[in-house]
């Protein structure tokens, strides 16, 4: 059998740090990048005698997630303790949700295909260990330092059903998930900073089979691109393994970005038994109708609906709509520009073209640019009322991207306004023709090919004479009137 005769099956487990002001069970600040062990207290350090108190904002964020992904949110859900020893986990158990999650049985649409999401549950993050000496690896380190700032930071674990079959589909799922989580304001979803972490369960089976193969869990992908590469590598690895008579084993595999391979992590003796049991220090989570209403009200337009609206109202392509919605802040900018009076299609062209190119080139974010929706709308008007040619408008936009200037001011400053006056332009044409009698002669006697060439030359001269500001349509007409 070849790779084409196998079907890959994958499910994704996504951990998202919630952007609440404080941690899950205490009042400590939830903040990335503070000095080690500064955002800590007896509760998130799990000191003897301390007790957790659930942050209501986390529940509200979970309810938003419930709403956005069509989950069932039961009347009551409970926390469990997941017991295992780990030095960066202060209590040596993680307070998490187990068989009674706050969100159950939701879905997400990726390119028209519905991907089931089994569950989403609340849990606490762990601290972070760094190993000092011996090259920073645990087994030869002199000692280890633990920073508990992240301990107790609220996480949602979002577990898809094993319903994806290609790396592209998996990337699409994560991209859509990320867009929605950002749109509903619950997380800053940065894979690179670890506020969004994706693990992939990958298995293969012969095409047509409906039983699931043994899966490997792939970890350590820190971008969408590496997620795609890791999945593709893993599928090939499994197919080759099975083809050569081997058997896939259930294990956790680590994606090595630079080598472009996954490798198995040393498996622990026996399978881990987490001895889950209901957390006795917390009461059941029972969202009230008021909390549910608040969460519903807090959700704005979701990415899919926004794309649909842009395509329908502005007449732009699905691809352009996706570009706007998936680039941070671009869709909001487009909406604001349209609200300021510009046509959606023109706005989309500028934003997905010149503006996005400039952002990519400079690495800047939209928020720090001097260009505002009002200025972009002004630029669109200058083009549509004939003041500015599209070519000159590009220059003006370039200047407005770099400096805090109005398009109108740039036009005035550089004398770029387009000339439409037929008398003024006719005089220019006459002057050019008077100095090119020979060319006119050649034009009149030449074949089609030569005529085209000579006319092009004359048009260039006319344009040059107008210093680029003559309205090309008017100039073309005036030239033709005189030549023929």
């Amino acid at each position: 059998m070849s790779e084409a005769e196998y079907e890959a099956v994958m499910g994704l487990e996504v951990h998202v740090e919630l952007a609440t002001a404080t941690k899950l069970f205490c009042g400590c600040v939830n903040e990335f990048g503070s000095e080690p062990n500064t955002n800590i207290c007896p509760v998130c350090l799990g000191l003897p005698g301390s007790l957790p108190v659930l942050n209501e904002k986390v529940v509200e964020f979970a309810l938003r997630i419930g709403e956005a992904f069509h989950f069932d949110v039961p009347e009551r859900s409970i926390f469990h303790r997941k017991n295992y020893f780990y030095p960066d986990m202060p209590k040596d158990f993680q307070t998490s949700q187990y068989d009674s999650p706050i969100c159950a049985d939701g879905y997400l649409e990726v390119d028209g295909v519905r991907i089931g999401i089994e569950r989403a549950h609340m849990e606490e993050d762990t601290g972070k260990t760094t190993h000092v000496g011996g090259g920073g690896r645990i087994h030869d380190a002199d000692h280890s330092n633990v920073d508990y700032n992240r301990a107790g930071v609220p996480l949602m674990e979002i577990v898809s059903r094993p319903e994806m079959h290609t790396a592209e589909q998996a990337k699409g799922y994560v991209s859509e998930l990320r867009g929605i989580l950002e749109a509903i304001g619950v997380s800053d979803v940065k894979m690179e900073e670890g506020s969004m972490r994706v693990d992939a369960n990958v298995s293969i089976r012969p095409v047509g089979s409906d039983t699931l193969g043994t899966r490997a869990e792939i970890k350590n992908m820190n971008s969408l691109r590496s997620l795609g590469r890791a999945i593709e590598y893993e599928i090939s690895r499994q197919v080759e393994l099975v083809e050569s008579g081997g058997r896939v084993v259930q294990e956790t595999r680590h994606w090595d970005e630079s080598a472009g391979i996954t490798h198995g992590m040393r498996s622990k003796e026996g399978s881990e038994d987490y001895r889950y049991f209901p957390e006795p220090d917390l009461v059941p989570v029972a969202p009230t109708d008021a909390m549910r209403a608040t969460a519903r009200a807090a959700i704005g337009e979701l990415p899919a609906a926004r794309r649909e609206r842009m395509v329908a109202q502005w007449g732009i392509s699905e691809t352009d709509a996706r570009t706007l919605v998936e680039s941070p802040g671009l869709a909001e900018f487009a909406d604001a520009t349209v609200a300021a009076g510009a046509p959606g299609k023109d706005v989309t062209n500028w934003l997905s073209g010149e503006v996005l190119a400039y952002l990519n080139e400079t690495g800047l974010s939209l928020a720090v640019l001097p260009l505002t929706p009002g200025k972009l709308a002004e630029l669109c008007t200058l083009v549509s009322d004939g003041t500015l040619s599209r070519n000159l408008a590009k220059d003006v936009l370039g200047e407005c991207l770099r400096e805090p200037k109005d398009p109108k001011a740039v036009v005035a400053e550089r004398g770029l306004a387009q000339v439409n006056d037929e008398g003024e332009l006719g005089a220019l044409v006459d002057a050019v023709l008077a100095g090119n009698a020979e060319t006119i002669e050649e034009y009149r006697n030449g074949d089609d090919k030569l005529r085209k060439k000579k006319r092009g030359f004359l048009m260039g001269e006319v344009m040059k004479a107008s210093k680029g500001s003559g309205n090309p349509q008017v100039l073309n007409r005036l030239l033709d009137e005189r030549l023929n």
Binding site: P42, L47, P48, G49, N83, P87, R275, F277, P280, D281
Partner: protein, 477 residues
């Protein structure tokens, strides 16, 4: 000692009125501790300096015309599993060696806010696991009434401290009887409040769904004073009950009160005949005071002990995981982190704690959960249902507190099961989350104190205290 020990109510009244200084109260009690604790060993630490400083502050407040509060100048002994900021809190375990809590338990804060003066941290069975205080890493606490006998446990130090006059009030914690059983054995009043009535914030957990803090006192009214000081909602404890509890005033009138003697906790093997007889005399006394008395069956109580010894160790196995040598307390170095964890725990925990951690770990293991932990939780539901049925017919229930008088030191240390049976009468209340208290009611065949237990439904403290006052009034002197 001459006559009845001074009550907390008397001390507070005299200190508030300026008749007596808090400093002299504290000095007197410190003198008693100094004289007796060498042989009793109820204290892990005596807070001489802090207590004197606190007393001076109270006296200064009185001198300024301020009211220091209802516990003004009253010495209070604290079980050494209650966190006290900057003062060692050991749980009588080697594993917490050197740990200084950076915060104070809610109940201790409420005691000091009311003018009470912490005077000692008292001994306990390690992590509150035991019924005799013999499991303490720092040695046994002897019974002040007979130094060859145990003080009970796990709050043996607090019970002995009150019985020996170290302080008129003490705090303990009760997971399966750890306040009531030692109170009975030492001849004092001990209360296990309704689960959630008193904040657990700052109580070092043994079994979170069962643990509850409560008072020890020489009189029922003193116990009420202490309970009213420490109870009430605490935003730091999610399981703490919201809303104001009903006050405990209300005298000793039991006329018309319906009282049931729980057959499964009274008429069973292992209860000493003199203890059973004391319960009978107590019931008669209440009847004479106008109550009606009948016997009642609460069938599932029979399974209480078995369910308890699955649920409590299961929760303990998780609660005690954090003592791993990484962040605080004892650390014994090892080859790697896992080895360091193992060596630290092997050296830091005593045999009973290890036994319960293993029991609990096993009860929660994959494949055994349903048969053990799951089934124990079902028993718990049954016990709640059976008590609910009993409380439809009765206002309060009666039973022995402990099966016997205080037993000789060393008698049960080799036989854990015999030791576990010491709590057979008290455990069902913890499983149900209800209230219960013990009141001294005469002596047994060996001349040592016997306690009678009054049980009440959740938040039934007011009626429970009324019955307790009536018993106290009728108790043989």
């Amino acid at each position: 000692m001459s006559g009845a020990p001074e009550t907390a109510l008397d001390i507070a009244a005299s200190v508030r009125s300026g008749e007596r200084s808090a400093r002299s109260v504290v000095d007197d009690h410190l003198a008693t501790i100094a004289a007796r604790d060498g042989e009793i060993h109820a204290c892990n630490a005596v807070l001489d300096d802090q207590a004197r400083a606190a007393a001076d502050a109270i006296d200064a407040a009185v001198a300024r015309g301020e009211d220091p509060g209802p516990l003004a100048g009253v010495p209070v002994a604290l079980k050494d599993n209650l966190c006290t900021r900057g003062i060692p809190t050991t749980c009588s375990s080697r594993i917490l060696e050197g740990w200084l809590p950076p915060y104070t338990a809610t109940v201790v804060q409420r005691v000091t806010d009311a003018g009470g003066i912490p005077i000692a941290k008292t001994n306990l069975d390690e992590f509150a696991m035991g019924s005799s205080t013999e499991n303490s890493a720092f040695g046994v606490t002897r019974n002040p009434r007979d130094l060859t006998r145990v003080s009970g446990g796990s709050s043996g130090g607090s019970a002995a401290a009150v019985a020996a006059g170290y302080a008129p009030l003490a705090l303990g914690s009760d997971t399966g009887g750890s306040i009531r059983q030692p109170a009975a054995l030492c001849g004092v009043v001990g209360v296990k409040p309704t689960y959630g009535l008193v904040s657990r914030y700052g109580l070092i957990a043994f079994a979170s769904s069962l643990d509850q803090i409560g008072p020890f006192a020489n009189t029922v009214d003193d116990a009420a004073l202490m309970l009213e000081t420490i109870w009430g909602h605490d935003p730091m404890d999610s399981t703490s009950i919201t809303g104001a509890p009903a006050p405990l005033a209300g005298g000793a009138d039991v006329a018309g009160l319906r009282i049931g003697i729980v057959e499964e906790l009274t008429d069973v093997e292992g209860i000493a005949p003199e203890v059973r007889a004391a319960v009978g005399r107590a019931a008669s006394a209440l009847e004479a005071a106008g109550a009606t008395v009948d016997r009642v069956s609460v069938p599932s109580c029979t399974y209480g002990l078995s369910a308890y010894y699955l649920i409590a160790p299961a929760e303990a196995s998780s609660n005690l995981a954090r003592y791993d040598g990484v962040r605080y307390g004892l650390r014994v170095d090892g080859e790697d982190v896992a080895d360091m964890n193992a060596r630290t725990r092997a050296a830091g925990f005593g045999p009973e704690v290890k036994r319960r951690i293993m029991l609990g770990t096993y009860a929660l293991s994959a494949g055994y959960y349903d048969a053990y932990y799951g089934k124990a939780q079902k028993v718990r539901t049954l016990i709640i249902r059976d008590f609910a049925a009993a409380y439809e017919r009765f206002d309060v229930l009666l039973s022995p507190t402990a099966p016997t008088e205080a037993f000789p030191i060393g008698e049960k240390t080799a036989d854990p099961l015999a030791m576990y049976l010491s709590d057979v009468c008290t455990i069902p209340t913890n499983l149900a989350g209800h209230a219960a208290m013990t009141v001294p009611f005469g002596v047994g065949g060996e001349g040592l104190p016997v306690g009678v237990q009054v049980l009440a439904p959740a938040l039934g403290e007011p009626v429970m205290f009324r019955a307790a006052r009536a018993l106290e009034a009728a108790a043989p002197r």
